[in-house]
């Protein structure tokens, strides 16, 4: 097990190397002189030369890359072109917002998704099943930005139950989390349904029923625990998709998180911020995937690691 985890961690290295190359190349592909970006249009040639030297732009590309990685490992991504504050500081202040939003959306998605999935499987082909699966189909087909705007229109503008945008109270969190979690809830519901159907057909479930256990106990204790094992992978993957979706959700609801920081940074060509946020998101996503893989083996002792 320990060996598996170590091996699995080792696969992270080439992946993160690749991502760092892509992120590094963002600056290289930018048309125009990066020194000009930093120094401004009225910088003198001497100033530009000084900036180039300071940024290491006068060195060969591979040396520049090594410097970039070295600085990144120390958490130094330079200063934001837009705000002139250190990038890490800028990102650090927003990370909690994104984490809270993603976590709440995840909890909502798991609860709703598992509930709908169980309901649909236990009453296969019933009205409830059809309704749950139609909802799930709609859930994976609705664009986040539109769902967000429609929820905002209905619950914030018309009914005034929740604030339209921004942060502050727990109420601010409701609409963004619902918006973000909807697609994941739908995917989890579909997965749980098919896993439950598979398990419910098995002999041990029939035995459990035959010996007179309460249906609720058979479904929740005997069937669900096994059905959730394949669902864990899907649920784990959802975390990544929620992080990605947060980029859109945060823009819709003016939620000051990392995703919105990234989109704004791309628009303002604030490349140090773009680099840092993308690296952070890739690191988080890869780590969570690793954790899910390990958890999967822990939950299902039948799985042997090589």
């Amino acid at each position: 097990m320990t060996r598996y985890i170590l091996n699995r961690m080792a696969t992270l290295i080439p992946v993160l190397f690749g991502v760092s190359v892509i992120v590094f190349s963002i600056l290289k592909f930018v048309p125009g002189d990066p020194a000009l970006q930093v120094g401004g249009l009225d910088a003198s040639p001497e100033d530009l030369a000084a900036i180039r030297q300071q940024l290491g732009l006068d060195r060969p590309v591979h040396v520049q890359y090594l410097y970039f990685v070295g600085n990144a490992l120390r958490g130094d991504f330079g200063k934001s072109i837009r705000s002139n504050r250190p990038v890490l500081e800028e990102m650090w202040s927003r990370i909690p917002n994104t984490v809270v939003l993603t976590a709440v959306a995840m909890i909502f998605a798991i609860l709703l998704g598992t509930g709908l999935g169980i309901l649909a499987a236990v009453r296969q082909y019933s009205l409830w099943d059809n309704l749950a699966m139609a909802t799930a189909m709609l859930g994976i087909s609705v664009p986040i930005f539109w769902l967000g705007l429609m929820l905002m229109l209905l619950f914030a503008v018309q009914l005034r139950w929740f604030p339209t945008a921004g942060t502050g109270t727990a109420l601010h969190l409701v609409l963004p989390a619902l918006t973000l979690g909807a697609a994941s809830a739908a995917i989890i519901a579909r997965q749980v349904r098919s896993a439950m159907l598979e398990v419910l057909r098995q002999d041990y479930v029939r035995t459990a029923r035959a010996k007179g256990l309460k249906p609720r106990k058979v479904i929740l204790r005997h069937a669900l625990t096994n059905a959730l094992i394949p669902a864990v992978t899907i649920i784990g993957l959802q975390f990544g998709y929620l992080l990605a979706g947060a980029v859109v959700t945060e823009t819709v609801f003016a939620w000051p998180g990392v995703g919105r920081l990234l989109v704004d940074a791309i628009k303002f060509r604030d490349f140090p911020v773009v680099q840092a946020t993308i690296l952070w998101l890739a690191l988080i996503f890869s780590t969570v995937n690793l954790a899910v893989d390990v958890l999967y083996g822990y939950l299902d002792p039948r799985i042997k690691y090589q």
């Binding site: 992946v15 664009p143 993957l237 996503f285």
Partner: protein, 302 residues
């Protein structure tokens, strides 16, 4: 249920050995399977309608989708403007119709590129194995390190904002699915005796890949293409909504929502209908993809 349900009807058999009539037979079986799936048929109808609207867009629009007319800005639905007008007085229905073409072109281009490149890379990796396999699949792993739309956003960050770059970004983010699919299938197929026979007979690798391996993975590829169309439409409209994709005045569904957003509270019609168009198109491809999968691979049917 016949041969499609049996193992040798799928990945394992050489396709060229089945005669023409057997192939028709299989086609009818699949068609019957598909017709029984109500969701799949609904999806096919929606997708058909969507494609038709995209092709006939010019003859369907009643107003110029790009020309501004501030005198009729933000009209409510009804009268000459069935779905109302936007903040610059452009007919929303006409823009949605033209938007169908933009969406379809973008997603077809992206899916075509992703499926061709991905299938090729996966096939080559699986067939030749060794170091080449390692290099290709590790590169694919890098692409998978950024989930969903984030990879597309990263590529936009490198290439810059714009419609063509969105297509490239979506294409690249679609490559991993196809590469993995075709690599796995190739690994299964290549161990078969008829492949070894073809190799022993001196058939060039290129032809083995194209004639014996590709036909055996067409069914899952088709399903994947259909499902990726749905994702592509979603991603393209989301990127345009974020301001990273189609730029004004291009009538793109996501961009329409983005510009109409300011007026959403007072004039909800500006944002409602373009969103419904996205939902319908995506729903159509998702339903069709699910239906195709059930019909082509009965073992996956629940």
């Amino acid at each position: 249920m016949m041969d499609i349900a049996s193992p040798q009807g799928r990945v394992a058999t050489p396709n060229h050995s089945s005669s023409r009539s057997a192939r028709w037979e299989r086609f009818w079986v699949i068609l019957r399977q598909f017709r029984r799936n109500r969701g799949g048929v609904a999806g096919l109808l929606i997708v058909g309608g969507f494609i038709l609207v995209a092709i006939l867009a010019e003859s369907l629009v009643l107003h110029d989708p790009v020309k501004q007319n501030l005198a009729v800005a933000l009209r409510s639905p009804g009268g000459a403007y069935l779905l109302g007008t936007d903040e610059l007085g452009r007919d929303i229905l006409s823009r949605i119709i033209m938007g169908a073409r933009v969406s379809l072109l973008m997603s077809v281009a992206a899916v075509a590129a992703a499926s061709i490149v991905g299938t090729f890379l996966g096939g080559v990796a699986g067939y030749f194995g060794g170091r080449l396999d390692q290099v290709i699949m590790r590169t694919i792993d890098v692409l998978l390190a950024l989930p969903g739309i984030l990879l597309a956003i990263t590529i936009i960050a490198v290439l810059g904002v714009g419609l063509i770059n969105v297509v490239v970004a979506i294409a690249i983010s679609g490559i991993p699915v196809f590469a993995r699919l075709s690599r796995a299938a190739t690994l299964t197929v290549k161990e078969n005796e008829y492949i070894q026979a073809a190799r022993a007979l001196g058939m060039p690798e290129r032809r083995i890949l194209a004639n014996h391996i590709l036909p055996n993975i067409l069914a899952p590829l088709l399903v994947q293409c259909t499902l990726l169309m749905a994702t592509a439409i979603l991603t393209a409209s989301s990127l345009s909504f974020l301001g990273l994709g189609a730029q004004p005045p291009t009538p793109e569904w996501g961009a329409m929502l983005s510009s109409g957003r300011t007026y959403l509270t007072s004039r909800p019609h500006v944002g409602t209908s373009p969103g419904i168009a996205v939902v319908l198109a995506v729903l159509g491809f998702n339903l069709l993809g699910d239906g195709l999968r059930d019909a082509l691979d009965p073992r996956l049917k629940q």
